[in-house]
Symmetry: C2
Subunit: 367 residues, 2 copies
């Protein structure tokens, strides 16, 4: 079977800096994607238009065949004036992280009220607010990584009520509560879902740091809610991979002083992986909506095909059938055979072990 879909867009990806950036940026295209919505959490974070444009130029040099949409990091330094400047320069969104962005606080949760003047200008000029929707852990309030997302949702509703025309994306939803919250919002609120949260539950990362990411994968019923809303073809739920490369040692080795890094790398095989996952819950017919149409419409970045209504183009996936002798996992060295995920990208200290390294997924992109 072959499947051709319109130009895929990943609305949440980490492309890093330096050698890691050079390694992973071209792999966005290799993974089947034509558009990457790029996170600003570099060191130091991207807080100015000038720095965002500089970073964009670097990414375009590394992979000219991908459209990079840029974001700024929400911090007290971000002024309404800088928001206007950013918008004029083509920067698309502002990303809010749960920690380190606090000016006022309210019961242990960051208060977003301090940012309301910035949000007002974003609403006016049409920039998107990207929310990492978790509150910080707080033992005294019984908040841990498990309920940090549900505990954040009142903030989503509050910001949406205050700025009903501001486009907001709740990033990497992991709970049924988050899916239901976004459903209840108006058409200006959308939600990204990662590939790995369609696959994992808490049991998968318990004791397995290679499956550890933030937000952590939750209960089977939460995973089911993510699958259901995709299967339903809800137009405000679309792919944002949150693909986050880390050097392999930081994913595989703990010491008493330091655990493993949070984050899973999926970008280099993202389209075949998502096809495999959607197929696993009978939602393959929603693939194009989930990876292309819905996100592009919300962000107002239609594909060439959507703009001109042309037929053809897009990316073609080939379904591969298991034959006798096809194992569930490929453990060899060198390049993995078609249908398997590679076991590693890069070499030496910067090598990345991807999510589900070596697993049979049964799909490949046709060149």
């Amino acid at each position: 079977m072959q499947l051709t879909i319109d130009s895929p867009a990943d609305f949440h990806v980490h492309l890093r800096q330096g050698p890691m950036c050079a390694l992973v940026t071209p792999l966005v295209r290799k993974g089947g994607f034509r558009l990457a919505y790029v996170m600003p959490n570099l060191q130091p974070p991207i807080t100015t238009t000038a720095r965002a444009l500089e970073y964009k130029a670097e990414l375009q040099r590394l992979e000219p065949r991908v459209e990079f949409l840029m974001t700024l990091y929400l911090s007290p330094d971000l002024t309404p004036e800088e928001v206007r400047k950013a918008k004029s320069a083509g920067i698309v969104g502002v990303k809010s992280y749960p920690r380190g962005v606090t000016t006022n606080s309210d019961g242990g949760i960051e208060s977003y009220e301090a940012y309301y003047p910035v949000f007002a200008v974003m609403e006016e000029v049409g920039m998107v607010l990207n929310l990492h929707g978790e509150v910080p852990s707080d033992s005294s309030a019984n908040i841990s990584v498990l309920n940090a997302e549900p505990a954040f949702l009142p903030w989503l509703h509050r910001i949406h009520a205050q700025f009903p025309k501001l486009r907001i994306v709740l990033e990497h939803a992991t709970t049924r509560a988050a899916v239901e919250a976004v459903r209840k919002c108006g058409n200006t609120v959308a939600c990204t879902i990662t590939a790995h949260h369609l696959a994992l539950t808490v049991d998968d990362w318990a004791g397995q740091s290679l499956h550890f990411c933030k937000p952590v994968a939750k209960m089977p019923d939460d995973r089911a809610a993510l699958q259901e809303v995709i299967k339903e073809g809800h137009p405000r739920f679309f792919l944002g991979s949150d693909s986050a490369p880390h050097p392999s040692s930081s994913k595989t080795q703990s010491t008493p002083d330091k655990g493993c890094a949070a984050g899973l790398y999926t970008s280099a095989t993202l389209l075949p992986l998502v096809a495999h996952l959607l197929e696993s819950f009978d939602a393959l017919d929603k693939l194009e909506g989930f990876v292309c149409t819905f996100g592009r419409r919300f962000y107002q970045f239609p594909s060439e095909r959507m703009r001109v209504g042309a037929i053809g183009g897009g990316v073609t996936l080939q379904k591969l059938e298991k034959t006798e002798g096809t194992g569930d996992v490929w453990r060899g060295d060198g390049d993995a055979p078609a249908g398997y995920l590679p076991r590693v990208y890069g070499k030496g200290a910067e090598a990345i072990i991807p999510f589900w390294a070596g697993r049979w997924i049964g799909w490949q992109i046709l060149a």
Copy 2:
């Protein structure tokens, strides 16, 4: 400050086999304990009286100054006749693990009904049933490591109702639900609590495999419930460390094919660690009840002092105060200074990294 308590008893400990057994068995005494209730999950498991006695002899040879109480592993091979034989030979309990003991099943949970003839004889002769109180994970029933313990509790109530005189211990409770369930039972049902579950929550093992154990540590409110019932001095809640040594590499290194081993090693410094933890929530006055009196009474293994009413004996702890320059963690090589936990036990492939390696706890045992 010095604190002398009656002879400490650890009512749940893993002493392993071979070189690991030789390393950890003498450390029970070094950790302040005079009695060890020994788990039967060797390879192969201990399922006969003869094998249990052989193992006991080996442990006594390794550390003659500790009283070892032995258990059998519940399996379909365990007959009522073997239970009678075991009781006559001084074996104290039968341990039930959640997996691999199934004969009949009921909605994905093991059915214990198949074992009712065995439980009836245990009740008659006075053997103790030790329950690992978790059901297997089951996505279709929304069961994961997080709710596996609450989902087990109906079994506890059912077995207790059927065998009201059978002494049952719910092992290593981790949730408020488990604490409340044991409270509601009659005096024949007790509960062990580990040291590490008084310290950890889910946030501590998320991404840190050195804090990964089963049952996993739960929410802050669950930890609070464990602390509260100890602080209250409830006589049916007592220490079972579930100290479980693993070679350091199996605790620190993940691969795509294999995560890290579940289990934390606390035995070698157990009494100072428990003193530190109880002190942290103002329950130091319950130390003797928690580590000696309550467990020994329930198991009917009184200490020499409890038997003869003598004053004196016991184990003395010295409280050490932090001075300027005393860090929170000691990172040097060789023996850790007094008041710190060691960073490692043993050498080479069998080396064990203990729980909270190198941490300042501020207590030591006086020789």
